[in-house]
């Protein structure tokens, strides 16, 4: 059947005298391009609708009157096409002449010169002399936006920018303004873009009309020296990024790569967020606290000191008194060695990471129940969904390029249902369900009930059958007050009758106050709907660090701590002893609880800033201050580093090699584009391992990866030398993925419908910022310049009840303290809910929340018992 379809779609056409077979439907231009025949274009852009405005792509098609715009003409069987004849050249030259009528020809001062299509085609077709004597357009270049320079004198009105912004990015932030010769491309305000700053319009513009301010007038394309392919390290999407290095070895700019993951897209962090690598506040020298002050010391002294202090504490109080935080910003190699140092060098299972707040629990329960292969879904395939359900997640901020693919799905007709708050999908959703927080998970349960009324689960996963038989669910009727049953049933019907459903969830689900029950409901929904599952990881390498055993109860592989075979194999390979399997390691928050109680005395923090990034950060900071030894390995002096006894400067992803596993479980590589002071994380750890008597001897990060391939039966299928290739997707050979390390028995206590947790006052929902998502972003000047001020957003009714007017300064308070924040009123927000900008590490809003540890996963679920608002004085 498929074969026949393929045959039917095959088109044979002749281009410049040669016959080609192409798969249709396809435009003539694309058919030519696929066969390496290049036709000049100005307004064509792959992956969006043809526009046919510039007429550069004219070709002659036999039997057709007039020259044809090949970008908008469908290829047909038997077509005979000529792309380069004198007649066509004359026509193209004439089109260029039109474009140049108003063009200022200011190439010497234009940043685009050297990679400008207008310049290149003018050289090619020789439109040097114009026959028109119109006045040039004069309009001063607009530099009012902090990041994008807009020059309308040079614009040729190809509208690529507005079309990529609307059709690809889904932001619709710029448009054609005015008409006739006064037309220009402008953002809504006419000055600042105030957009998502994805950079797509800058990449699309064929001339020097939209340009990045980050390398204004100091960028010449021909100065580019080496170029490297790498992977953005801001989030779990793992976009391919192309690094352009200047001849002097400094970073020129980053541009999106056509990788399978992002296919030419980036978000603001990836496109504009690289200045931090040359920030003057980078750490350059190791520091040791002497007489209360951190003072620079040599690497030798620092590492010797760290090793001896760790040994002292281990020998005096045992491995249990030491702990470490791994980092999703660091590579597989780094995390593997940190874990090796802790387990084999120090005899401690106390290792965890920020993945505890999200992916760790999600992948254990959802992957464990469904089979891990089911949680491997490709970002690019999201766009082909027929229905998408986002569960308390805004993919546009948590995994931006995935969010853009949800928008693309909506634009191609998918039903997009946003459950919970998802402001990024505001213009791209069919239905939104926003129950009050206390009941939201119960409503999700009712949705599952309603789906089960329509669709019976197929397939034979025993564990899922058992789960569906025992999981208690409310009915839509039970939840009628929280969400009208008709809405629930309508959504259930949409989902149950769609062929290709995608489900998205992230940290909010992992930290649900309703406990593991909500995660099981999610897994069951995925099972019944046979849906693709997208589990968002907010760090670039969360899967990688979890695979490397950076969890208290897991070994690298990953394998459970109790797996005798794995223990034997690892102990043999390392020639060292693992801590006893009875030694229950401490999870993320337990580490701080134990530090507060004096049971953990030494903590090794790699690339994390718990003093700002964890809930109840006041408590966390107090616990950090009690430690006898705090070692922080980072690139900046974070709030945590300020409290440290030793600070070790590391390198960023732009300055080093290594590997990540992204949210799709694809192996991705990073490369060293520029040099830097500091040491790579793995090499610091390698030296410490040796100092503690372990065999290390790694010369390059690849050596560490080779060891990983021996330890992990799953990684042995992934080949670091083959990064980005087909073999680097996990699990490499389809299959079910490694069978659950999950014992349903352990989940049995959580099958009942959880009680509704009541609190005083209104609901608080934290809105994640798109631009500032961590320490590195906070040191990127460009991202700071576009970041919005923190706001408390609410609807008119709530504002009225507190007599709040737009722009008022408010005092938001919880039992943990008060914070000043500006009010913003949006009549379309739901009742009784205040949306606070979660600036994460900047304003430290998490300080005002307490946390509960979720049973089974130990994820910290933030909550407040009392919340209130006061008008500021």
């Amino acid at each position: 059947m498929n074969n026949m379809n393929n045959m039917k779609n095959m088109i044979t056409l002749t281009i410049n005298g040669k016959k080609f077979e192409v798969k249709g439907p396809v435009k003539v231009l694309e058919a030519a391009l696929q066969n390496n025949i290049h036709i000049p274009t100005m307004c064509y852009y792959p992956k969006i609708e043809s526009f046919g405005g510039c007429r550069m792509c004219l070709v002659r098609v036999e039997g057709m009157y007039r020259l044809q715009a090949s970008c908008s003409l469908n290829a047909e069987d038997g077509m005979v096409v000529e792309t380069e004849t004198p007649e066509i050249h004359v026509a193209r030259k004439a089109m260029l002449e039109f474009m140049l009528i108003n063009h200022p020809l200011d190439c010497p001062t234009c940043d685009k010169a050297g990679e400008c299509d207008l310049q290149d085609f003018s050289v090619l077709y020789g439109a040097a002399e114009g026959r028109f004597h119109e006045r040039k357009r004069t309009e001063p270049e607009s530099t009012k936006d902090p990041l994008i320079v807009r020059n309308m004198e040079r614009c040729i009105m190809c509208t690529k920018c507005t079309r990529v912004c609307a059709e690809l990015q889904g932001a619709s932030a710029i448009n054609v303004i005015g008409r006739g010769k006064h037309t220009s491309i402008e953002p809504f305000s006419g000055s600042k873009f105030d957009c998502e700053y994805c950079g797509a319009c800058i990449i699309a513009c064929p001339v020097g009309s939209l340009m990045s301010k980050l390398h204004r007038h100091n960028y010449r394309p021909w100065d580019t020296g080496e170029q490297f392919d790498s992977t953005c390290s801001y989030c779990g999407v793992g976009c391919g990024i192309h690094m352009q290095i200047r001849e002097d070895g400094t970073l020129q700019r980053l541009i999106p790569a056509e990788s399978e993951v992002n296919q030419g897209l980036l978000c603001a962090r990836g496109f504009f967020g690289y200045e931090y690598i040359s920030s003057p506040s980078r750490l350059t020298s190791p520091l040791i606290r002497k007489d209360g002050k951190l003072v620079p010391v040599s690497w030798q002294e620092a590492l010797k000191y760290v090793a001896s202090r760790l040994k002292e504490i281990r020998d005096a109080s045992g491995g249990k008194s030491l702990a470490a935080l791994a980092s999703p910003k660091c590579t597989i190699e780094d995390n593997y060695l940190l874990q090796k140092l802790m387990r084999a060098g120090l005899g401690s299972n106390n290792i965890d990471s920020s993945a505890r707040m999200g992916l760790a629990g999600l992948r254990r329960i959802v992957g464990g129940l469904l089979g891990h292969a089911r949680t491997v879904s490709y970002v690019s395939e999201m766009a082909q969904s027929d229905a998408v359900l986002t569960v308390c997640s805004d993919p546009v901020t948590e995994a931006p390029v995935l969010g853009v693919r949800v928008r693309n799905a909506y634009d191609s007709g998918a039903a997009v249902i946003t459950f919970g708050h998802a402001p990024g999908l505001r213009h791209h959703r069919s239905v939104t369900m926003q129950p009050r927080l206390k009941e939201q998970w119960h409503v999700l349960g009712a949705l599952l009930s309603a789906v089960l009324e329509i669709k019976k689960p197929s397939g034979s996963r025993e564990m899922m059958q058992e789960l569906l038989g025992t999981l208690m669910l409310p009915t839509p009727e039970d939840m009628d007050d929280a969400m009208p049953r008709e809405v629930v049933r309508k959504v259930a019907e949409t989902l149950a009758t769609s062929a290709n459903v995608s489900l998205v969830a992230g940290r909010e689900l992992a930290c649900s106050l309703a406990g593991p029950w909500s995660i099981m409901v999610f897994a069951a929904l995925a099972h019944v709907l046979e849906a693709k599952v997208y589990l968002i990881s907010e760090g670039p390498n969360e899967h990688g660090l979890l695979d490397m055993g950076c969890e208290p109860d897991m070994l690298p592989g990953p394998a459970p701590m109790t797996d005798a075979g794995a223990r034997r194999m690892i102990e043999g390979l390392w020639d060292a002893r693992l801590p006893s399997e009875k030694e229950k390691g401490l999870s993320l928050m337990e580490i701080f609880e134990a530090a507060g109680a004096g049971d953990v005395k030494g903590l090794y923090v790699m690339g994390e800033n718990p003093a700002r990034s964890l809930p109840d950060s006041g408590f966390v900071t107090d616990a950090l201050a009690k430690l006898d030894l705090l070692v922080v390995q980072d690139i900046f002096m974070t709030e945590t580093a300020e409290l440290a006894h030793v600070v070790l400067p590391a390198k960023t992803w732009i300055e080093r090699k290594g590997t990540y596993i992204n949210m799709e479980r694809r192996l991705l590589g990073i490369d060293a584009g520029v040099g830097a002071e500091g040491k790579e994380d793995w090499s610091i750890l390698s030296e410490l391992c040796e100092a503690l008597g372990l065999k290390a001897g790694y010369k390059r990060s690849d050596d560490v990866f080779s060891e990983v391939m021996k330890v992990s039966p799953y990684y042995c299928e992934l080949h670091a030398s083959n990064i980005r290739g087909e073999t680097c997707k996990w699990p490499a050979e389809g299959g079910d993925g490694h069978e659950a390390i999950l014992d349903l028995k352990a989940l049995r206590p959580y099958l009942d419908i959880p009680p509704v947790v009541e609190g005083d006052g209104f609901d608080i929902v934290l809105e994640k910022p798109l631009f500032l998502n961590g320490t590195t972003a906070l040191h990127s000047d460009a991202l700071l310049r576009i970041s919005k001020e923190p706001l408390a957003r609410m609807n008119t009714a709530l504002a009225d009840s507190y007599k709040i007017r737009p722009g008022d300064t408010l005092r938001f308070f919880s039992e943990r303290g008060e914070i000043e924040i500006k009010a913003h009123i949006d009549p379309y927000l739901p009742d009784n809910t205040v949306y606070l900008t979660d600036t994460q590490e900047s304003a430290g809003i998490l300080k005002y929340f307490r946390y509960n540890k979720m049973p089974f996963t130990n994820a910290p679920c933030k909550y407040t018992q009392k919340t209130g608002l006061k008008r500021g004085e």
Binding site: A166, N175, V176, R179, P187, H427
Partner: protein, 154 residues
């Protein structure tokens, strides 16, 4: 922010259209009628009501001559200057308007009563010259009748 009256009129209008995109022009008319012109915050309010991107709304408003981005007189006069009307000497009428009401194309009369635009064809070519005052059509204009007609608008 739009006056409540405008918001409810826009909401009523919305119901008559299959989707909000197609209700944009009538919504902009309503907003302009109430505010007098379409500053950015009015465009933003319309965009929010229609759940459309702000820049899209501004793009549409800026394309059409009948929408103004700066305050104008109480009445908008659009005198057609396209071919048929031009042949019927509508340019002479421009002089009349200038003399009698101090009106220049693109400008507002000193008493803030009228704003004059050179309009495009309004489909009344068989009774030229023609003009629109707000949304009223007036045809077969002469130097006398145009003065008389405009006198009716306060």
């Amino acid at each position: 922010m739009l006056p409540a009256e405008a918001v409810s009129q826009i909401n009523n209008t919305l119901e008559k259209y299959p989707d909000s995109r197609s209700a944009l022009l009538p919504a902009l008319y309503i907003a302009q009628r109430h505010v007098g012109h379409l500053p950015l915050d009015a465009l933003h309010a319309v965009a929010t009501l229609l759940d459309l991107p702000d820049a899209h709304v501004r793009g549409v408003a800026s394309f059409h001559v009948m929408f103004r981005d700066s305050p104008g007189g109480r009445h908008l006069v659009q005198l057609c200057t396209n071919v048929s009307c031009m042949l019927a000497a509508s340019s002479g009428l421009l002089d009349v308007l200038k003399e009698h009401f101090g009106l220049r194309p693109g400008a507002t009369s000193p008493d803030n009563r009228f704003t004059l635009l050179e309009g495009e064809c309004i489909g009344e070519c068989e009774k030229v010259p023609a003009m629109l005052v707000d949304s009223d059509v007036h045809t077969g204009l002469t130097a006398e009748s145009i003065i008389e007609i405009l006198a009716r608008y306060e």
